[in-house]
Symmetry: C2
Subunit: 247 residues, 2 copies
């Protein structure tokens, strides 16, 4: 394990696999972790099936420093994430007194009945810490290195804001983007040589197409600003040379 924390995400929900809902949490988490200097290494999406959730959580939590889940912690019968996490860790689960107090107060204040269904949202595995939910009260939770959060994007984002300051972060990944008017196929060989000369960086190449012309965005990534600057100079020289050839 390097000194850069490695993370994984597990997005949970039949609706993501049926196409009914397009995930909006993966990209947000990816961006937040990158900004914080944590490497998101793997994402999985599974449905609302206990066996699938247990298997994925156990695979990911043993392999990465942090795991983040989204979805399946609401009040209805298809919200089974908390129970699945308890099963994955082999711990008990029950209505948590802290979560019950939070929800009871919130519903009382709003004059809404605290139904059995709503009490489901207080089911928290034994030994877990709660994750604040400033949007709609029902908390997420952290058990070991697994952070269990809501699927509704506004709630997921609010919970993640609460979680981020608790995470160990590494040197931030820096990047520089260079817009290149040539298509990938015209720069591929030269760019591979640049990459070979700059092992301390990771150079990505992303094709663009505006309906008429192919071009490329080149992105240099490294945790070392000097390494980026050196590679950047080399890429610009490469582009000037290729451009000079009229390709």
């Amino acid at each position: 394990m390097s000194n850069i924390p490695a993370a994984a995400m597990l997005a949970i929900g039949d609706e993501l696999l049926s196409g009914r809902t397009r995930d909006r949490n993966i990209g947000h988490l990816a961006e937040m972790l990158t900004l914080a200097g944590i490497d998101l290494k793997e994402v999985r999406i599974v449905g609302d099936e206990e066996e699938a959730i247990v298997e994925a959580v156990n695979a990911l939590r043993s392999r990465y420093d942090y795991v983040f889940t989204s979805g399946g912690i609401g009040p209805t019968h298809d919200d089974i994430t908390a129970d699945a996490i308890a099963a994955a860790f082999g711990v008990g689960i029950d209505h948590d007194s802290r979560a019950m107090a939070l929800l009871e107060a919130s519903y009382a204040e709003r004059g809404i009945e605290f139904t059995e269904a709503r009490k489901r949202m207080a089911r928290i595995p034994d030994g877990a810490d709660l994750i604040d939910n400033p949007v709609s009260t029902a908390p997420g939770f952290r058990l070991g290195n697994v952070h269990v959060m809501a699927g509704v994007p506004s709630v997921f984002q609010a919970m993640l804001d609460k979680v981020m300051p608790t995470l160990r972060t590494g040197a931030k990944m820096l990047s520089a983007a260079i817009d290149c008017p040539l298509p990938e196929g015209a720069i591929g060989s030269a760019l591979a040589e640049v990459q070979a000369r700059h092992g301390g960086t990771s150079i990505g190449s992303y094709p663009r197409y505006d309906g008429v012309t192919y071009s490329t965005q080149i992105v240099i990534r490294s945790r070392d600003a000097k390494a980026i600057a050196a590679a950047q100079t080399d890429v610009r020289t490469m582009l000037a040379e290729l451009g000079g050839k009229g390709i």
Copy 2:
């Protein structure tokens, strides 16, 4: 294995994990497979790392009827998907004569140099069939039950259109959505009872929030239209009863 084919997707690309690019292929594939009567059971996202791709492809192809990958088949050094797939299957890989002919003709017609980098796009594992690319020529391929397609959404979609007619499909999943003005917490217990009475259906509950009011969309899914109709009647009765209580 039931008579409904089960599928998985592997989206490949550092840019998806860094947050630089938001995936747009997972939701499209999910929708297309659902329409065709194929169950998408799992999705994974990994970076441009051979070991990670090999491990994920081998895990998924042994478990599901079909695997679909996106990304990493372009002309630059960070496009390593074809080589990783060959490694996963333990087969050789080289410039494929069919792919070379397609690309050569296309570049010749457009008066563009067929560079070494562009020839990379003709690297196809031994024994694979090509997948047509009507958008930008460079083909995808199918090896065993794994379909390797481009990451650029327009190309991914065009390739998938070519692949779909070759897949075994099952009875189509049908669904009915019911807009419910009550929040999930007010219907959860009653809805769980409806679900318990309608084992042939899968009833999902999706919270909605318009900034003022919480409501719910209830989605009943089944391959049996009669089962959906029966559950739908039951849900409507449930809502009428709950509404009558003024909740």
